[in-house]
Symmetry: C2
Subunit: 131 residues, 2 copies
Amino acid sequence: MKVLNKDVDYAVRALVLMARNDKPATPVAGMRAEVRVSGPFLRKIMQKLQRAGFVHSVKGRGGGFSLARDPGNIRLSELVSALQGGIKLNDCASEGKLCGLHSACKLRPRLASMEGRLLEELAAITVKDLA
Amino acid sequence: MKVLNKDVDYAVRALVLMARNDKPATPVAGMRAEVRVSGPFLRKIMQKLQRAGFVHSVKGRGGGFSLARDPGNIRLSELVSALQGGIKLNDCASEGKLCGLHSACKLRPRLASMEGRLLEELAAITVKDLA
DNA sequence: CGTTAATGATACTCAAATAGTATCATTAAT
DNA sequence: ATTAATGATACTATTTGAGTATCATTAACG
């Protein structure tokens, strides 16, 4: 029952690293040791971050990644949505899903609000906070 | 990234059902339709609840399960620990695990306290509340 | 120019966790 | 004896998460 997956974990590490460095471009090869993950896997994560607009990338020799946004404004909640599609306390709370008990369910609204609070707490933590 | 597994989900439904009925013994056959789950699977869950002391069981014809505790005092947090071994926001926060960054990690204490708050919120919800 | 060092995209494999089934043993009412 | 129940446990299947591999593209460097 883990709430944050590895992608988010490694992404945070990488972003924090970049926030500290503030180099014009950091290649994956220059991050994987500190992040403690294999090159290919980290690359895949960085590519997701690029597509989601968290980082810029420069291709070719001398290239790499750099922060596209102010680290003080990159919130954990955003990484969670971008890299793992949010959080659901159970199948029912988030999606409008089934279960038949649906309308009678007293648990659902409670879980939904807990989920909301959890996301708020994640939103209160930025990359800058962790750098 | 689901936080509550099916066991907990079905367990809640079954316990709520029993709290409403308050019969001396409800057999699995008398619950599976309302809980919306297969007999064998529900049985497995009820057996876990029995071992964990949430319900009593009576074997043999005319037997079944009954609440062993006041439904106003059966908390979601307890079901979560009994049926899915708690919640971890990530691998690092709960266990003392690895990751090397360990001592330098600014995220860990924050996740730990979020985890605590989440469990408090789950502890505030009882079976009675949902019945 | 060609080599090298980088990312982009995507398909694939492997492992772990969840979910669910099946079976045999035991118990007690009828 | 039969039937209706739980106890225990082994097994299977499905889904999700984690990680690899590969080929294409781009740009600096010599």
